[in-house]
């Protein structure tokens, strides 16, 4: 099958439609990945008709399929029993259709299986109409309407694209899988304004406003099984600015986020442990990226403010400021092989970096190590071809601050401060 996979994708429309059919099959039976892979590579191999480039320019179909193994020891990050797991499946298919010179339709569906990390199943990643309002030699302005992806953080738009992100598991303090479906995008309006000059380089300014639907499974992941009511996001406003100096290997960025949520309790009589409540979340990041021929460095520094009004008790109030950073380095040994090293350090309350106050305030029910999350990661990536790669990594984690459920931690399973995980993932994209 490897040799079939190596057959590079012909970009004609007929093969893409074949691929689409393969993927529809895979959504119907998401577990039959091997069959789908065979069908996919088969359909690509069949594509021998002449290419119709003008058509493929207006209509484009792309996708990816990946499967991995993950083993976590000492936490419920992926599963509760700590066994080796194949719950590391990511499949996606997207299409882009240029309606007119100014308007474009684009959409992507993804199927994800990550165990406890996020809800298993298919979802619409984005579905939008893209209006190219301004297109000159130096300026580009686009307005996106519909469901758009969060494009504000260093890896927010590629977090669920296996080969486009730097590691299998991203720094959880920023790219927390428990918040994935809320943070990955919104339904609303977004804009991107790009200015490219020879003297000052490239500027990209983005602004977005919308909301994300919160599923019952997501509610459970964040608020635990004891939450029987409905959680809703009221608004999500974000902006970011990126600057890459002219012909520079560096790029710098800043982002701001403000979001509000409400929880409508199902009531004590219906078995709901929690009360009506309002939550707000603010998140500010600074980031830098250096891309050299063999070395690459990137990092993000961030501060978050989380407030709660109600929930545990009608008069309960919380106002926490959390802080963190990660530094990442990649080294390309050869054209195919890249090594990765990363250090991440995050605490939920800057007044309680070691979590002692958390433990005291909960009468010892929530251990101190739920107040922080530190992760040392080593990994490698091997590109077999231009669109087939293998990735492997090991994480040494200290702390349980980024495990689900968030508001009702589970110290029964997560009974140790230190835990480790390794993962391998094969990925193919076209």
């Amino acid at each position: 099958m490897l040799s079939k996979l190596k057959t590079n994708a012909a970009v004609d429309v007929s093969s893409r439609v074949n691929n689409l059919l393969s993927f529809i099959g895979c959504f119907a039976r998401p577990k039959t990945i091997v069959i789908v892979l065979a069908a996919l590579s088969g359909s690509i191999a069949q594509a021998k008709e002449p290419n119709i480039f003008s058509t493929s320019q207006d209509f484009q179909l792309h996708g990816f399929i990946s499967q991995g193994l993950i083993d976590v020891n000492g936490s419920d990050f992926v599963n509760d029993d700590g066994e080796l797991s194949a719950e590391l499946t990511e499949i996606g298919l997207n299409a882009s259709y240029q309606l007119t010179s100014k308007f474009r339709l684009a959409g992507q569906v993804v199927y994800l299986d990550g165990g406890n990390r996020y809800a298993q199943g298919a979802r619409v990643d984005y579905a939008l109409i893209d209006w190219s309002a301004i297109t000159t030699e130096n300026w580009q302005a686009n307005i996106y309407l519909g469901r758009f992806k969060n494009n504000h953080w260093l890896y927010s738009s590629s977090r669920d694209i296996p080969f486009a992100r730097p590691s299998i598991i991203l720094p959880q303090s920023v790219y927390f899988d428990g918040f994935r479906d809320i943070a990955v995008g919104s339904d609303g309006i977004a804009s991107k304004i790009s200015y490219s000059t020879d003297d000052y380089g490239n500027f990209d300014w983005q602004i977005s406003y919308g909301t994300s639907p919160i599923s019952d499974e997501q509610t459970t992941n964040i608020l635990s099984d004891y939450a029987q009511g409905d959680a809703e996001q009221d608004y999500d406003a974000q902006t970011s600015l990126y600057w890459q100096p002219a012909f520079s290997s560096w790029r710098f960025g800043i982002s701001l986020l403000d979001a509000g949520f409400t929880y409508d309790s199902a009531g004590v009589s219906n078995g709901d442990f929690f009360f009506d409540s309002d939550f707000t979340f603010q998140f500010y990041t600074l980031n830098a990226l250096y891309e050299g021929e063999t070395w690459e460095f990137s990092g993000e520094v961030y501060q978050q403010r989380f407030t709660m009004d109600g929930f545990y008790h009608p008069t309960f109030e919380l106002d926490n400021i959390g802080q963190g950073f990660y530094l990442q380095s990649r080294y390309k040994i050869t054209q195919q092989l890249t090594l990765l090293a990363r250090y991440e350090d995050f605490y939920l309350d800057k007044e309680d970096k070691d979590g002692k106050k958390l433990e005291q305030s909960t009468g010892g029910q929530v251990p101190y190590y739920f107040g922080f999350h530190k992760d040392v990661t080593l990994g490698l990536n091997y590109d077999f071809t231009s669109n087939f790669a293998l990735r492997a990594e090991y994480h040494w984690v200290r702390g349980a601050g980024r495990l689900t459920p968030v508001v009702a931690p589970n110290p029964g399973i997560n009974d140790s401060e230190d835990w480790q995980m390794w993962a391998v993932q094969l990925m193919y994209w076209f």
């Binding site: 290419n51 003008s54 320019q57 893209d130 297109t135 030699e137 686009n142 758009f148 002219a246 231009s386």
Partner: protein, 182 residues
């Protein structure tokens, strides 16, 4: 004294010097990469920055407001790697990242990837507004090869490759070679 020393050194290194001189004759120089466009594209020269903007999808239209269709070879193709480094002064993996972000986040459209240099030439011939790149040697070969759909290859702005030759074929196909300015 100095010249004497130089002379002695040269005599000592004589076999090496001769070998190197011969090698220069035998080993072909690294072939240049030419940027080609569809024959209707009126821009016959581009600056390095413009070329880079076009390939990083920051400039989507030609000067006459017609849309640019960008074609590339696969990431691991040697010619693509050289084109990225020599012509765009950007590492191939950086290009890949920019394109992946556009393609898989819905933000925009990335270049069309074709499998071979020949397919790339065909694409540029057939697609209005197309831009691509080609090995210098291949450009010369076009003159001799029988491309079914290539009727004529007209080279502008490059006196050294001023080939203008009718070939067999039912349709007219023309590419421009674009001059890249600093």
């Amino acid at each position: 004294m100095f010249f004497r020393l130089l002379q002695d050194t040269l005599i000592k290194l004589y076999p090496l010097v001769i070998t190197l001189m011969l090698a220069c004759l035998v080993i072909p120089q690294a072939v240049a990469i030419e940027v080609i466009t569809h024959h209707q594209v009126t821009d016959d020269s581009l600056t390095k920055s413009q070329l880079r903007r076009i390939y990083t999808m920051r400039q989507l239209y030609w000067s006459d407001n017609s849309a640019i269709s960008v074609f590339v070879l696969p990431n691991q193709d040697k010619l693509h790697q050289r084109f990225a480094k020599e012509r765009l002064q950007i590492f191939p993996y950086q290009l890949n990242r920019i394109w992946h972000k556009l393609t898989y986040s819905g933000l925009g459209v990335a270049p069309t990837i074709v499998r071979s240099e020949q397919e790339l030439i065909q694409a540029v011939i057939k697609t209005p507004g197309a831009i691509g790149y080609i090995d210098d040697a291949t450009l010369s070969k076009i003159e001799h090869e029988q491309y079914e759909n290539v009727a004529m290859v007209r080279v502008v702005s490059q006196e050294t490759h001023a080939i203008e030759k009718e070939q067999k074929g039912s349709r007219k196909g023309v590419v421009n070679v674009v001059k890249i300015k600093d």
